[in-house]
């Protein structure tokens, strides 16, 4: 959605005159900050619907297999999941601070904050990998014989873990995309294409990152916390 200013199709300001001789500025597609913002918000809406459909599926099966879902949830690692939640919340903070710095003209500070966000995102992925490999050792992973029909697990547990790997997996995929976007953003900042005067790309990537952490804020309680009571009382 960003565009180069040196292109041949540069915006030439235009005025439309009404019958009373009053002048009205014609909005061009070039450099339309509000338009780019609106476009990205709409794109975020599609992400919400995509995850919304999965949450709907999840809650449908939760109502069908209530007790089994709680049992399955109690088997997840709340410490690692909780650490990841904190890591992601801090990364949302660094991302937001970076945008504030960019707006106030502190490009160097903004870049530092983006690097911090990338680092936190990598930590998140590392913890996630650790968690999944622990699950794997305990026989909880897609494709294992324990996860097949008749492999010793109830319907509710199978569905819970199926959705768990699907949703945390797709969320992790969004984190990876986010890291890619941030690296691209740094490249564009370095080449001067993103600057305090023209920072819509930074704005939109920050918006994306906010949504990614927001999805996690719903994923975490739904998967990890529903069984928390079960874990305490055995």
């Amino acid at each position: 959605m960003a565009h180069d200013s040196h292109d041949s199709h540069e915006y030439i300001p235009e005025i439309a005159v009404d019958r009373n001789g009053k002048e009205h500025v014609v909005q061009g597609w070039q450099g339309d900050f509000e338009g780019a913002k609106l476009g990205f918000w709409l794109f975020m809406l599609t992400e919400v619907l995509m995850f919304g459909a999965m949450f709907m599926t999840l809650s449908y099966y939760f109502t069908l297999h209530h007790a089994e879902f709680i049992k399955a949830s109690s088997e997840l690692d709340r410490v690692l999941g909780g650490v990841n939640t904190v890591v992601l919340l801090i990364s949302a903070l660094t991302m937001g601070l970076g945008l504030l710095k960019m707006r106030s003209g502190d490009v160097k500070g903004a870049k530092l904050m983006i690097w911090a966000t990338i680092l936190l995102a990598l930590i998140f992925l590392g913890v996630k990998a650790l968690e999944w490999s622990n699950d794997y050792k305990e026989g909880i992973f897609l494709g294992l014989s324990t996860m097949q029909a008749g492999g010793g697990k109830s319907f509710g547990e199978l569905l819970f873990f199926g959705m768990y790997f699907t949703m945390t997996g797709l969320h992790g995929f969004h984190i990876i995309i986010g890291i890619g976007l941030m690296l691209w953003l740094l490249k564009r900042i370095n080449s001067g294409k993103v600057s305090p005067e023209h920072h819509i790309l930074h704005f939109n990537i920050a918006l994306y990152w906010d949504l990614v952490h927001l999805i996690w804020v719903f994923v975490f309680p739904y998967f990890y916390m529903t069984g928390a009571g079960g874990a305490i009382h055995g």
Binding site: M1, A16, A36, G39, L42, T57, S154, L158, G162
Partner: protein, 558 residues
């Protein structure tokens, strides 16, 4: 002669010298629209060929030319191409791109590069969708295709168990869905941001309203089917269990998630088509459209209500009676705004100076065919009759009367209407009208017998049938032959028009909307040289003449 958009263009990157690369990299909305049209109609004919193959096979009971499983692949191929490659991108991708920015006085869409990217995403989806067609082998001297045989709906659990190549088709449908989302997003922002000064929402042409309502459906419904297809893929290859009854999963859930998108999708197809109708009727009646606001708002309410009716596809799949009743009731509701539109169009023609040019003929023909398609839809919205008619030829006839006789007929109407705008030339009207009559007769001969056959119990998607249904299949067959002849003749006429047509001038139809007030024909690269201030309604006629006139600087002079 002034330069048109055929002579120069803006590119996504670089400044290529060759004409070919200039087309491949173009970000001009008009060129992108034309490329969509070329690709889409190429695939359209592939799907027509698949359908014709089925008609040949069904000419008599028993096996004729192809084997049963090839027949299953043929209807899947027909459905996948027609739905995902042709009619879903359909009118928005072609006329939404070419005409919508012109109608609102914009230089391009809001994100021209995204538009370029979207087009290539669409091409990628097409390639993946059809790749498995070429994945065939020869066993026992027979061709064995690996194309999906699930039907375009991919119902679980069969789609999860079949050995054919469902994966490419699912991935392709997902990618095409993304392209559709991005198109809708681009149009929504364009309509919100780039309208000419003074043009508020109720001064927009009604086609723009149709595109606007459609764009919301593209944006809000497509992600749901996208994730459903991803879940089906994960189910097939990783066994996540949610559609697999062996693991407690629910196959009916797949149907729900699928139709949450795929039912609004039919409104996504028809709303821009209704928009074309709303352009053509006033232009060729030389009369201001009757009930502008009701047509505009009925588009919005069809989009809204259409979101809540998906359950009527599941009346026989296992759903509570309460849910069935609610879905049936809501489905009836969609007929109300649709009916409002029909009455408005007819009221527009009343006391108008009707000009029976080719686009108007198509529009009038559609009023008949879509009325049949729409009203037969109401009959199967009733739970009782639907139990009898579900999965029969009756439903197939209804669907094709609504989609082919509604969307595609109006698409053809739009092609004939905006042809002089796009190419600056005019096709041979006599031949084009003859093509309409051939297609209209062929269409009704092809589809109407299916209402009767379906009512008598002929099930859809069957390779074989009882001898008593033969007469209906044979009438359909001859209808199909006439229809295909008409199609070929129509496209021949249009192509001759592009090659040898006489210059049409800027406004050959005496129409009022902004796309007919361009400085030259075909339009220049950046559309209107000057953007007008819009303080008029889109269809103002007085005594059969357009009211609003502009000088060369787009200032009103009336």
């Amino acid at each position: 002669m002034s330069k048109s958009y055929f002579d120069e263009t803006h590119c996504a990157f670089g400044h290529p010298k060759s004409t070919f690369m200039q087309w491949m990299l173009t970000i001009d909305h008009k060129r992108i629209g034309i490329m969509y049209a070329v690709v889409m109609f190429t695939f359209f004919f592939v799907a027509v060929a698949a359908a014709l193959t089925m008609r040949f096979e069904l000419y008599a009971p028993g096996q004729q030319f192809i084997e049963a499983h090839v027949f299953n692949q043929a209807f899947t191929l027909h459905g996948v191409i027609m739905i995902f490659l042709f009619i879903i991108p359909g009118i928005p991708a072609v006329f939404g791109n070419i005409v919508m920015p012109l109608m609102i006085g914009a230089k391009d869409v809001s994100f021209p590069r995204l538009n370029w990217f979207t087009f290539w995403l669409y091409i990628l989806g097409c390639i993946i969708a059809l790749s498995s067609l070429f994945n065939f082998n020869i066993a026992d001297g027979k061709l064995v295709f690996n194309f999906a045989d699930t039907g375009w709906t991919f119902y679980a659990p069969y789609s999860l168990n079949t050995d054919t190549n469902v994966v490419t088709t699912l991935v392709a449908a997902f990618i095409l869905g993304m392209a559709s989302i991005l198109t809708g997003l681009n149009f929504l922002v364009t309509i919100h941001r780039l309208r000419a000064p003074g043009m508020d929402f109720f001064k927009m042409p009604l086609f723009v309203w149709g595109i606007y309502a459609t764009a919301w459906i593209q944006l809000l419904a497509t992600p749901v089917v996208g994730i459903t297809l991803v879940l089906a893929l994960l189910e097939k290859y990783f066994g996540i269990g949610i559609f697999d009854p062996a693991k407690g999963g629910d196959p009916v859930l797949f149907q729900h998630l699928f139709w949450i998108y795929s039912h609004p999708a039919v409104y996504l197809m028809i709303l821009p088509a209704f928009g074309i109708m709303s352009e053509i009727i006033p232009a060729f009646s030389r009369r201001e459209i009757f009930g502008y606001r009701t047509i505009a708002l009925s588009s919005a309410s069809i989009a809204g209500i259409g979101y809540l009716v998906w359950g009527h596809h599941l009346f026989t799949s296992g759903m509570s009676d309460v849910a069935k009743t609610i879905f049936s009731f809501l489905t009836f509701f969609v007929a109300i705004p649709t009916g409002i539109k029909f009455y408005d169009w007819i009221a527009t023609m009343y006391k108008g100076k009707i000009v029976l040019a080719t686009p108007m003929l198509w529009a009038l023909g559609t009023i008949i065919t879509f009325a049949i398609g729409g009203l037969s839809g109401v009959t199967i919205a009733m739970i009782g009759s639907d139990i009898h008619l579900q999965d029969t030829y009756y439903t197939i006839a209804h669907f094709h009367y609504a989609m082919l006789g509604g969307v595609v007929f109006l698409f053809f109407a739009g092609i004939h209407y905006w042809f002089p705008l796009v190419f600056g030339k005019m096709y041979n009207e006599t031949k084009a009208k003859a093509a309409f009559y051939i297609l209209f007769v062929g269409f009704n001969l092809l589809w109407f017998p299916m209402f009767i056959a379906g009512y008598l119990g002929m099930p859809r998607r069957y390779f074989d049938y009882l001898p008593e249904f033969q007469i209906y299949h044979q009438i359909s067959f001859w209808g199909a032959i006439i229809f295909v002849i008409g199609l070929v003749f129509m496209f021949y006429t249009l192509i001759q028009g592009i090659r040898k047509g006489k210059p049409s001038g800027v406004n050959p139809w005496n129409a009022t909307t902004l796309e007919w007030h361009l400085p030259s024909s075909p339009p220049p690269l950046e559309n209107h040289t000057k953007v007008p201030y819009v303080d008029f309604r889109p269809y103002e006629y007085h005594h059969g003449q357009p009211v609003v006139k502009f000088d060369e600087n787009m200032k009103r002079i009336d």
